[in-house]
Subunit: 150 residues, 2 copies
């Protein structure tokens, strides 16, 4: 996400929160701020740690509560993997990406692919249902990397 997109997401989030009757409180605001700077997956712990590092408020409980609220309001996307949840901002313009986990390193790399989106868009009709969201995680490696040999 571009710098402008970050700001737009913060504003959008604030608007949605206000509209839901919630307040611009310190803890939640700090979480929104932090997430807006980070375009890709963060865990609750990582968020809590960083907030504490930079001196912002943010107890574990507050971070978890903020993430739950933001997720419910559709402002965050959530991924569950290996027993931990990770979150990232949802671009209000509708843009989104997916993730591929590199098997060598465990790194998570965002990607997007028009062909894939097209296929997903058609699934609803083919199966007779309304698809409201989708999560896709690929696993693989860079083409140059040697295959695993442990």
């Amino acid at each position: 996400m571009s710098d402008t997109t970050h700001k737009r997401w913060v504003q959008h989030s604030n608007a949605v929160l206000r509209a839901a009757g919630l307040r611009a409180s310190a803890g939640r605001t700090a979480v929104v701020e932090l997430l807006s700077r980070q375009s890709c997956l963060l865990t609750a712990q990582e968020i809590a740690d960083r907030l504490r590092e930079e001196g912002s408020a943010g107890s574990t409980a507050t971070v978890y509560r903020a993430l739950e609220t933001l997720h419910e309001l559709g402002l965050l996307r959530r991924f569950d993997a290996e027993g931990v949840a990770r979150y990232e901002p949802v671009d209000p313009s509708g843009d989104h990406h997916h993730h591929i986990v590199l098997e060598e390193t465990g790194d998570v790399v965002p990607f997007d692919d028009a062909e894939l989106e097209r296929a997903i868009a058609g699934i609803g009709q083919r199966l007779g249902l309304i698809v409201t969201s989708h999560d896709i995680i690929l696993r693989g490696r860079l083409i140059d990397d040697p295959p695993e040999s442990d």
Copy 2:
């Protein structure tokens, strides 16, 4: 999966386990048996409960250990969602399906879609990497269902 496929998976699993130097022990065998009958996602707890119901061996620890082993050997697929892991057999013929979570009920329905598979198959080349596996979860509702209104 058909009845025959179930049996094939059990046999395949047993072969792989033996090849890995592991024994045909009671607990793990019961887990394999149970999973072969259930083609779709089960949690460790569900497995442990069912085993106990039907009188088979199966402490929590054994179930978790069996699932870990089977997953490592590529015999199971694992999905993380809402803080719980779910497992299902991997069809040795390479067939696989994906899942859609119905938002009304939480039910998980398996589906597969050739178009989607085709898109995924092409992603590797388009992005310059080797995709070794993929997990896809859709969320949505049946076309007749009324949209949520809470």
